[in-house]
Assembly symmetry: C2
Homo-oligomer: 447 residues x 2
């Protein structure tokens, strides 16, 4: 059923009070789709539409609801009705919700859980944001090394309904140290009497609770894993991160880098839902900071006021020259920011890339100079044409090298290379453009 | 083993001609890691290091090699030695390689394959780049609806080694129409005598061969799928796209959008490996185009030459005002480009976002005006301060609205909203800034 049709059907059912009659039909809808449909309704109707389904489905749909709606439901719906859903949620989604609640709300929620769930929740929600710990789930399947394939299959069958995945099972020793990994595919193909330690892969890929999420995502992507086991400081296994959470991380990271490049602070909700003051706060800081960067360009212009007064025709080319410098800088800056973010290049590659960039920028500068030399002649004669062409060549090279180097410099100082790199590069390239232009003009025109 | 250690070990083994003695040790290394190590060697050594391993491993490692190396190996290594590897590759990787070869090379490769493989290859490689067809694999597991769970398990056991995944199996009718999907998890939990059509999910999520890859990735991400079935125009099942290929798409798309925003053409290889002429070609087009955009700013300045000559102090604020306009525009532009790319917002949302942006930009403009009014007073007195503050307020609003609207406009004309949006917004905001500034000055200063 298409989303608009589903919404209309649900609206009609709510009006005629026949939602309960549709139960079977609704069970066939994918939880992600059902979640997309019910968020269009006010919170009380949303609850009616959710609670008509079996509990396991309710928990799945609840997990697909946007974080704000989850929080609102947690506050508005009585604990007695909500707790069965919370208990059926996967442990990582539960921890996520918990992290968004106020202290008071958490205290209301906790008693609703069993002791084991409570401890698990407090444990999972104690990890720093942005680390593996914050997105891992404790719903994974563990096997002992000494059991047979047949016994392992029994374990997985018994535990399957509670686990996020049973397609990878982790083999641990008595101290929960990870000693191997075995896939359900291998289990199915192996003789039933084979021992797990003969079948398992002895060198599993793993990460630590405080590994940054981007690294987790790139490990999962590099090794095509379904899930990545996560170890604590004592090398004991404490959770897994599944590929679907890693996919979300890849998309979120890209968005964050994208925003940062243009000096927008980290936005945790969609731009469509963000309030006016939130958007203002995320944008104002760098906008004001960059004003002071532009003052240097202004000061550069002011310094050459006498040159400009004598050759007012020079002003015509100012936007063109500093614009080209900024554009060339933005290009090389963007290439570097993205390549540093995806790990294609490292800090030590700067030297090699610098040499290449000089050649590329030289070619670009030459082309650009050729593109404007005629315009210079037409507007200002031979002398101006020479000044403009020479300046264009140099500013494109200068801008490109600034664009190349700034992300490395930010990275060197342990800052995210994406931070404000777009406007910072433009600002610095502008200053360089102004100074180069007018000093060449002053020198060549003999002022 | 760490990568540098592995490389050293392999180098030592090559020098002493003892690679074959290390075979067992090498088999324990993950194919992705082994591929990263052997690409550090010249092509002949690389082949020695590859061919020492069992054929199934060779094919896996070959799949992890960069496309250029795969092509080089395909050309340099004799067909007799290469064809067993090619035959063991997964069908999507084989099609990928095939697409990169010249017609002549393809003709050398084709006879090395069995008829079925050949047809499959020609079929897979006939799909347009960027569509589901181009990344799908035909190595998926199919089941008939009438068989029992026990029979289905036998099918999967028999087919597992050849299939990309057996964790999702697709139920098709006699005409290959997709009628359901069943997960291995469900199969394991179900009674062995149950029929597949009782167990299967009757409303599988699917896509068509010509669905764009970004949509495939977002379906897989939205529904947390392991693989997405792909249908041809007659609604027959022809392949699947697996989650790991979708993850690659997400990352590639983000890089492409990132580059496009800063006017860099689509770069299919890493910036580290790209040659100078390739980088030049990918950058020069927009750089030259944008020169002509900046001419309008120049013309604006030239038009107001007399105002400027009388109040040369105005020039000091020019970079600051047009810079702020561009920065504000870049911010809102980036928010829109990314939100349009991830599907958070649609074309029809423009109106609602415009209203919000007016308010946000108004607040930002007011703050920025307050930030520069003192500077205006200090450099040029009361009148200049008023002109600068008023202009700042208006250019921030104008820049923001241009930044907000341009991506929608590009999208409306069926262009990718990311295309050149950064510099285009800056160029247009610059022109608007120049015109606003000097017309306010001319008017207020009564020139």
């Amino acid at each position: 059923m298409e989303l608009p049709v589903l919404i209309e059907t649900l609206r009609a059912a709510l009006e005629t009070d026949t939602v309960h009659l549709m139960r079977e039909q609704l069970e066939d809808i994918h939880p992600a789709d059902y979640a997309s449909a019910i968020i269009e309704f006010p919170i009380n109707d949303l609850w009616t539409l959710l609670s008509v389904l079996p509990r396991a489905d309710q928990a799945k749909i609840f997990g697909y609801l946007p974080a704000e709606v989850q929080v609102e439901l947690s506050i508005r719906i009585s604990r007695r009705r909500l707790s069965p859903i919370i208990r059926q949620m996967s442990s990582d989604e539960r921890a996520d919700l918990f992290n968004r609640l106020s202290d008071e709300q958490r205290e209301t929620l906790l008693p609703a859980l069993a002791l084991a769930e409570r401890e698990d929740l407090l444990h999972l929600s104690s990890h720093e944001e942005g680390t593996a710990g914050a997105i891992m789930t404790s719903d994974y399947a563990m096997l002992a090394a000494e059991i047979t394939v047949a016994q392992a299959m029994d374990v997985l069958r018994r535990e399957a309904p509670d686990k996020e995945t049973i397609y990878s099972a982790y083999v641990v020793d008595h101290d929960r140290h990870l000693i191997g990994v075995v896939s359900l595919r291998d289990l199915i193909l192996a003789p039933v009497t084979m021992r797990i330690d003969e079948l398992m892969n002895h060198v599993p890929i793993f990460a630590s609770v405080d590994t940054p999420q981007e690294e987790i995502a790139s490990l999962i992507s590099k090794y095509d894993l379904l899930a990545l086991p996560i170890l604590n400081k004592n090398n004991q296994m404490v959770g897994i991160v599944t590929y679907d959470d890693a996919m979300d991380v890849v998309a979120e990271e890209a968005t964050e880098d994208f925003h940062k490049t243009s000096t927008i602070g980290k936005l945790e909700i969609s731009v469509k839902d963000a309030g006016i003051l939130l958007l203002y706060r995320k944008r104002v800081f760098w906008l004001v900071i960059l004003v002071f960067g532009n003052i240097f360009s202004g000061a550069g212009i002011a310094y050459y006021e006498s040159t400009i007064s004598e050759h007012i025709a020079l002003l015509f080319f100012l936007p063109l020259l500093i614009g080209s410098s900024g554009n060339a800088g933005a290009q090389s800056g963007t290439l570097m920011v993205r390549a540093l973010a995806t790990g294609e290049i490292k800090l030590r590659d700067w030297g090699a890339l610098l040499g290449k960039e000089c050649l590329v920028a030289g070619l670009l500068g030459f082309t650009m100079a050729a593109a404007v030399v005629g315009l210079g002649w037409w507007r200002g004669g031979y002398d101006i044409a020479v000044v403009v062409a020479l300046t264009m060549m140099l500013v494109v090279i200068a801008g490109s090298l600034i664009g190349l180097s700034l992300p490395f410099l930010l990275s060197k100082f342990k800052l995210d290379p994406a931070t404000a790199s777009g406007p910072l590069i433009t600002s610095i390239a502008d200053v360089a453009g102004v100074v180069l232009y007018f000093s060449i003009a002053t020198w060549y025109l003999g002022l």
